[in-house]
Symmetry: C2
Subunit: 287 residues, 2 copies
């Protein structure tokens, strides 16, 4: 662990947060801050420190991809119950990166056209090109979460999807994409507070949807669906990470740390010029 | 002019920079800072001040569009000679806005499929939906700039395009989109310096393309093509703005000011809840 922004971590965030065999979601405390030995103030300072690192790594990745066509991409998949803080991650972690290197896609309820295709049809079209950081705000996992809880498809189709997802992600990782899957884990109490705040503030009403309470009433069924999802789709090449999210500052710092680790693992390099630098200098000087 | 960030402007930036009848590009000094009565330090401070305003206006616009389907969009069109600072605008002005409300599209040389269609085919697909800020890094104007200078199409086709562009943009503005067209105006001397810096720094080599010098040698022809473009496509509903760009801080501040004006003109409002707030509070409290 060498990154300046991560000196208060007691271990690799990816190791600490990864879903391994035997993982039980019910045992994760949404208010905890696994592996981070610091206060909220420390966390915010470290997040700010990480911005420069993430920025440089992203620019190197993008630069490399301009010359090397097989440069990896990074895909961050965000799943969570409502109000867990996906939007804040996009704004405060992804928002610090040059927008020219980011491909952000928010998946809503599928359209009629999308429903007429396999559930992965609309997903595959949005995977990031080489050198880009892709972000899925919700994803194909909705099809085994709300899909399962609301019985939007027959049980055998839901079963089929876990395998289809693993195959799809295997193709991505085989092609060099780092798939960073994150579930932001909020407590029902924190959700209640956040939804109530949306109702209390007229400038937040637009973020509130009566359907949020309907989903909230199915909390245990959703937790079951997440648990099954982890068991079936946390693979060696594309593992899940569960990030306690009652403390927003921790969740943001942890996602930034996961992205930094993925990029450091790629270790992108400034590409070597594919032209004669000295000759170009002369040519330019003559103009 | 009420916006806090704009108190050092001596007039409305949009008025000062707009291309009107009789405009001559050759008369614009790329090192000038029209209408801004302050230093580089002031400009940077004002840019930082503008971030919060732009952020809130964008969030209001997005919020309104969640409820009102006919909410306007904003489309920023960026054109310039190489190294004039389009990337810096995207990074430092657009990069300060929540990425969830931005649709950024960089247009490269058209693909074979795109060339098989009318030149506006690939453009129309990328116009921003209601409530979004769209950014075109290069645009349909390439088809009357490099298209004209390099004779990529017959003269009568280039002629036809000016009218087709005006019709296209009229459809956009009639539908409520604010089209903010910006040419960043750099001097050939400043370009030479910036290209030389790219050649001097190995971490900048990837930004250099030998083709840049080829285009540079056609500078007067490009300036002529811009002049004709301004005359033919600076319309009342979608005027051009020429922003002197030798001073990066000024160009960024001016683009931010144009975006602020477009958003203030829309004057987006937090939407009124389309549900019964009191009833929802009770329903939520009961969970």
């Amino acid at each position: 662990m060498t990154a300046k922004s991560q000196t208060r971590w007691t271990g690799e965030p990816a190791d600490l947060l990864r879903v391994e065999k035997g993982f039980r979601l019910a045992e994760v405390d949404p208010r905890s801050t696994p592996g981070f030995d610091g206060t909220k103030k420390d966390g915010r300072a470290d997040l700010a420190d990480g911005v420069g690192e993430l920025d440089e790594l992203q620019e190197r990745l993008y630069a490399q991809s301009r010359v090397e066509k097989d440069t990896p991409a990074v895909l961050l998949v965000l799943q969570a119950m409502d109000s867990a803080g996906k939007g804040g991650i996009v704004r405060h972690v992804i928002g610090s990166v040059d927008p020219q290197g980011v491909r952000l896609k928010a998946f809503k309820a599928p359209t009629a056209e999308e429903r007429a295709h396999d559930f992965l049809w609309r997903i595959e079209k949005e995977t990031p090109p080489p050198g880009f950081i892709g972000v899925f705000d919700r994803s194909h996992y909705e099809d085994v979460l709300i899909g399962r809880v609301r019985e939007l498809a027959p049980p055998e189709e839901i079963e089929r999807r876990y395998g289809a997802i693993n195959d799809f992600e295997k193709r991505l990782t085989d092609a060099g994409t780092r798939v960073v899957k994150v579930m932001l884990h909020i407590s029902p109490e924190a959700q209640k507070e956040r939804l109530m705040e949306r109702l209390d503030r007229p400038d937040k009403h637009w973020k509130y949807n009566p359907g949020d309470v309907d989903e909230r009433m199915l909390w245990p069924a959703y937790m079951d669906a997440y648990q099954v999802m982890f068991e079936r789709t946390s693979t060696a090449s594309a593992p899940w990470h569960v990030i306690p999210a009652d403390r927003k500052w921790y969740a943001r710092l942890a996602v930034q740390a996961l992205l930094l680790e993925a990029l450091e693992d790629i270790d992108p390099q400034w590409p070597i010029a594919d032209f004669d630098v000295a000759a170009e200098k002369e040519r330019l000087a003559a103009t």
